[in-house]
């Protein structure tokens, strides 16, 4: 497999009235063709901001201040705005958590899917309509042709998410960014959508950046996992290794605190303290306050990432 997306030292800061917030404080990862990387973390850890940074859609007062993003050998960060527009929604597709906020309520579904086809692919209206109907059928929407004429509010949550997927796939992207694609959905519908994404990925050899907080979804769908905390990747490894041999205290804490089905336990083991606001700690390890295993070096400096096994990186003083 070859590397399709390479992110190095990405830093996205927010310059707010209350001061500087380092939403992403320098992260590195790569995604190969056909591979799914899951970016896992809790609210405010910077995982969604990473998705927006990849597409250069960081909202004000945020800005990408440093780093490199190479996509299929192209430098995404330093190309003119017009050129990245040709990549966004075309070679890199996106799905967001809440389909209702990403679909335009006053346009018909058909027109929204066709927009990308008309814009990026230069189809005429008839060809685009044909293809849009085909896409809806592909993502499991019955009576696709009639649905093209409907508005988003006429569809259920699961159906809207399918429409979002159809839109994202319209231009046959090489990378799909899926930000919490099933979080707003019921569990039986979540199973349907993840199954659909899996099929599409296999058919098209598409690379996926799957952003989620659900460790069950990750276990079943990811090849690689990166655990984010306060703007940094704390641990990254192939999925089986990460679950089988977690090295970072935060990863271990997350895996221990899930109330798993089929494993009735007397008491859950929570991670103490609260989830930090984006980019909090300046001195010492950002997980310091909640870590059960601290020792002297943790208070002074933030640990660097260290490779403990081939492909398994950990940001913790214990493994240095």
């Amino acid at each position: 497999m070859s590397t399709l997306l390479e992110v190095s030292n990405l830093q996205t800061f927010f310059f707010t009235g209350d001061g500087l917030i380092k939403a992403i404080a320098g992260i590195d990862f790569t995604i190969d063709r056909g591979e799914t990387l899951a970016l896992v973390g809790e609210s405010g850890c910077g995982k969604s901001m990473t998705a927006l940074s990849l597409l250069r859609l960081v909202p004000e007062p945020g800005r990408i201040v440093d780093g490199n993003i190479l996509f299929d050998g192209i430098d995404l960060l330093h190309m003119p705005e017009e050129e990245i527009r040709r990549i966004r929604g075309n070679r890199i597709g996106m799905i967001f958590q809440e389909p209702m906020t990403s679909l335009n309520p006053v346009f018909r579904i058909g027109d929204q899917i066709m927009e990308t086809l008309l814009l990026h692919r230069g189809y005429d209206k008839r060809e685009a309509t044909e293809l849009a109907a085909e896409l809806l059928h592909k993502v499991g929407i019955p009576e696709a042709r009639q649905r093209l004429k409907e508005y988003p509010h006429q569809l259920s949550g699961g159906m809207r998410q399918r429409v979002m997927i159809a839109m994202a796939l319209a231009c046959d992207p090489q990378v799909l960014i899926a930000d919490e694609p099933t979080t707003a959905l019921d569990v039986t519908i979540q199973a349907q959508i993840m199954d659909l994404l899996g099929q599409i990925k296999a058919e098209r050899d598409m690379a996926t950046l799957l952003i989620t907080h659900d460790l069950g979804v990750v276990a079943e769908n990811a090849d690689q996992v990166a655990i984010m905390y306060a703007g940094l990747i704390m641990e990254t490894a192939p999925v089986k290794e990460l679950y089988g041999d977690p090295r970072h205290p935060y990863t271990r804490g997350l895996l221990a605190c899930i109330p798993r089905v089929g494993e009735r336990r007397k008491r859950l083991v929570p991670i103490e303290g609260s989830v930090p606001r984006a980019g909090a700690a300046e001195k010492g390890c950002s997980f310091l306050e909640r870590c059960p295993e601290t020792f002297a070096p943790c208070h002074d400096k933030h640990p660097p990432l260290k490779e403990v096994q081939p492909g398994h990186w950990v940001r913790c003083w214990q493994v240095q």
Binding site: Q154, T188, H213, V275, R290
Partner: protein, 331 residues
């Protein structure tokens, strides 16, 4: 254990306007003939997907919404039909915890006043006593005294949920209806709140109706589980029985759809066909029949009643004894 709460044949329908202007309003049967009991000191989990009526059922118990029909009894007293004054007194015994800790606290009130307000309303304390009791409640839920004069926006989601729980506890309730109390919280915080709720149950002999869509959370919290689908209860069982041997095809499908956080044992999901139908126009016969792998002709015509399949295990399915057939043939 004695029965603390019993619900018989509870009904609630809402009138909803049609999407077509001018069309007549239609009836949405949110809760359509629900019966269950909760014993003192136990936790009953009410599970289901969005729109199944589980939150409405919770609010009906406290008469935060008025039921159309049915009987609710709490500790021997009939709650349905109770006069307002009596109901206010009863609400001391029956309290609710809400899902969203961001919208259920008044942003203009200080934390100490939020927690102390029910004490004053119910005339349980005054003056200096209020402050003392509030401080003691804050300690119980893991907040410190320095939080007394702060405002809700200064707290994280988990701490806000602690504030909400302290306010609920202030009136020393016996039954708490907890409606998705941890769904809005981050994973690492969920476990803290679940443990807190369990500790408080021990300490104050609380009885919970725990409403959630998360089968993992339910399993860790509940003694018994009731599953709702389109306004009706389709299965009730002891938690262990429910998780090891569900007797309704919908319960089986729900359990099967939960992704397991173990990449070494990725299982094939039995993907349920179709959408959750609209509760405005539910399918004929058994509401689950269009999605059910065990469906037969009778399911399209007759709604199966909730009957005892085994001790402490009820389900509403014509083919209850066959549930598990597909599971076994797959493995």
């Amino acid at each position: 254990m004695s029965t603390l709460l019993s619900v018989e044949n509870l009904h609630k329908a809402f009138r909803v306007s049609s999407s077509r202007p001018g069309a007549p309003k239609r009836l949405l049967k949110a809760v359509d003939g629900v019966s269950f009991t909760i014993k003192a000191g136990e936790t009953l989990g009410l599970v289901g997907e969005s729109g199944c009526g589980k939150s409405t059922a919770g609010k009906l118990l406290l008469r935060l919404i008025e039921p159309d029909d049915g009987i609710i009894r709490f500790d021997g007293k009939t709650v349905t039909g109770m006069a307002k004054r009596e109901l206010t007194a009863l609400r001391r015994d029956m309290q609710m915890i809400f899902q969203d800790p961001y919208s259920s606290l008044n942003p203009r009130m200080r934390v100490g006043d939020i927690i102390g307000e029910p004490l004053i309303i119910h005339g349980l304390a005054k003056g200096q006593q209020v402050r003392e009791q509030v401080l003691s409640l804050m300690t119980k839920v893991g907040l410190s005294a320095e939080h007394f004069d702060r405002y809700p926006h200064e707290f994280s989601g988990g701490q806000r949920q602690r504030i909400g729980i302290a306010r609920t506890l202030a009136v020393q309730p016996r039954l708490i209806v907890a409606d998705e109390p941890v769904s809005a919280l981050d994973l690492s915080i969920q476990a803290q709140i679940i443990n807190l709720l369990k500790d408080l149950q021990q300490e104050f002999s609380l009885t919970y109706l725990f409403i959630s869509h998360d089968l993992g959370v339910i399993e860790h919290v509940c003694d018994r589980v009731a599953v709702m689908y389109l306004g009706r209860i389709v299965e009730v069982a002891d938690a262990e029985l429910f998780y090891s041997q569900p007797r309704h095809p919908y319960s089986e499908a729900l359990l099967n759809a939960v992704p397991v956080p173990d990449p070494q044992n990725v299982r094939q999901h039995q993907i349920l066909k179709g959408e959750i139908p609209s509760p405005i126009d539910p399918p004929s016969g058994c509401h689950f029949h269009p999605r059910c792998p065990y469906v037969q002709e009778i399911c399209r015509q007759e709604y199966p009643s909730l009957v005892e399949q085994a001790p402490t295990h009820q389900s509403a399915c014509h083919f209850s004894s066959e549930v598990g057939r597909f599971r076994q043939s797959r493995s």
